[in-house]
Symmetry: none
Subunit: 197 residues, 4 copies
DNA sequence: TATGAATGAGTCTTCATTCAT
DNA sequence: GATGAATGAAGACTCATTCAT
């Protein structure tokens, strides 16, 4: 009955989580009232725990960054327990991209960096964390390439509400990790139009 | 009488461009006054030409979409005039990613899509336009893969204020387009700790 | 019917005057709403014309300072047209102190200087203006003394809602300006208690 | 257990003193938090000891009034122990006016009276106390005149952060108490522009 | 047509006050 | 008895929008 009240840390976290959630859903007009309502706390609480709405926003972004770190760590474990084959990696990518929430989080983090340069640090941490992770499987340069691709796949997933299909991811990882594609892909520009020449 | 005045269409466009510019720079609080100031027009103009701020915002996004289309068309021409080799394509990517403004525009368009689903159409148009473009060079599936990578590279460029380096882009395009990498990249997990040599 | 509206300067002045009036009456809690109500204008007007409540307060103090200057100038004219005798000066003091509004204004100006050192300039201008004025009648040192006394008399009048009585003012001016009192005033401390010793 | 705690009366007094101090320094926005911080006590204490902020404010003004009374009493003693000569009185005035804190206190008390008529009682008590005091040295009417002057000198000191110079005070007290100035001070208006000499 | 004065709705923020602990 | 978490009322301030000119 009273467990909920008088739990400063918990309440604070609830508010932050609510703000983060709204941000990840692209809410265009986030106000104290909206956050309070979403968190199920009275208006005053949002201002009691945070000196300004901007502070709350910062806390939420930090919160998201931690979530990203946690995801990264979790993925690292899975990776270590796996065989590290392109197929497995592709499957993990697919799983990752299937989590709409997570995918949006990344987009939010990225676009927030635009307006607030100090946030770029967080986004870059995510990115370099991913590169580090992939470096366990391949050389650093390829890991970087793969990470860039994953970012693009995130955008794509955020935009289409579904991840790229698994076979494509498999092809890509195989191609990048082994340097061997299953078939030649070059096509001359002319080829596009004419059939019979 | 001076030529600058009495050009309704021009003034309207100035306002739209100002709004678009502010949006691309991540301005957090865009108001009529801010846009008017940025465009160098009186406050009243912004409300005279647009029924609401939201209308103006929509016009700006349309404006950006057109810009994207124009970029796409321009790139298409360049591509047609080129030899279509992976190196050339990589160079074009590099050029494209070097334009910070453009790269930001894409990120803005993407994150705006999050908040306003109707915009996802615009973003998807950009993406499929890119795929169509690349399809002139390779099969549709590879083109899709490349487009995803370009999106990722855009995010990366927006975040780091500089594009990925050209060699990496070259490796990637070559790898995807020819299915041939210059060297094997797979590294077995075991390899990290050599057993018997 | 429309003369009142669309008169920016006039409306601005109304608001300033309302604020000044409230300040002079020692209103403890001056808010936008209170000023708006007192000036008979809508709430928005008070924020439209002044970037902040503090700006409005500053404008009001400037307004009061101008009023003080005007009073000073007016008094100067009266003084020039007078015979400059102590009696006349005393009478003018009495008139001055009889204006409750004016007397309060001075107190407000003084106490505002406490909280906002930049206002001390205004208060000092009033004071030195008074000294200059009195310097036309007597030496500067005596003028200073008289000005200090007038300040004290202002405080007294503000506190008691009525000026010091005329005879006292006459005695004082005569005493200071001529250096001649009508009777000796020294009384030995012992004299207070014992009658017969 | 350390002696500092468990001293309700002492803590109460600390809070009151902190409030009084803030008031005397012209703090524009006095809140519970501000007082608590200034007094070095927890926020709760300020509401625990005083039913409302207004109560606390009243207590502080009472506190200041007592301080004024104490000053008055102390001055009375000094006066009784002195020779009561104008020079001595002037020196005492000078001492009094040299205490910036005290001088501000009076101004605060006066201006507070404006907003809260019930405080005028306190201010008048100070003033009549001063008159009583000076009445031990001279007739009541002159004492009143001197008290008014001292009030003016307080304003002047508060505004300039330093008291009037001693010689001026000496001249004034001598002039008022003996009715004898060291030199004639009248200057005829004509004198400004000499006619025929 | 074009502009800026005008206004009130809505937001952030502060804070007196209450009250669980 | 003391304290700080908690909250809603209230104020400063912003600004979209309206409208007189």
């Amino acid at each position: 009955m009273s467990g909920t009240r008088r739990d400063p840390a918990g309440r604070r976290r609830e508010i932050v989580a609510a703000m983060a959630d709204l941000m990840c859903h692209g809410e265009p007009k986030i106000t104290h009232r909206r956050v309070a309502q979403h968190a199920g706390v009275p208006l005053g609480s949002t201002t009691y725990y945070f000196a300004s709405l901007d502070d709350l926003r910062s806390a939420a972004l930090e919160f998201l960054a931690e979530k990203v770190d946690a995801d990264l760590a979790e993925t690292a474990e899975l990776l270590d327990a796996s065989d590290g084959s392109p197929e497995t990696v592709a499957a993990m990518f697919h799983d990752y991209l299937s989590d709409a929430e997570r995918v949006r989080t990344e987009l939010v983090l990225y676009s927030a960096s635009l307006a607030r340069p100090e946030l770029a640090v967080v986004s870059r941490r995510w990115f370099s964390g991913l590169v580090d992770l992939l470096s366990r499987l391949t050389d650093r340069r390829t890991a970087l390439t793969m990470a860039v691709f994953v970012d693009g796949a995130c955008m794509h997933a955020a935009l289409n509400d579904e991840p790229l299909d698994l076979p494509l991811l498999q092809d890509l990882t195989r191609s990048l990790m082994t340097g061997t594609a299953d078939r030649p892909r070059l096509r001359a520009p002319e080829e596009t139009e004419p059939r019979t020449s």
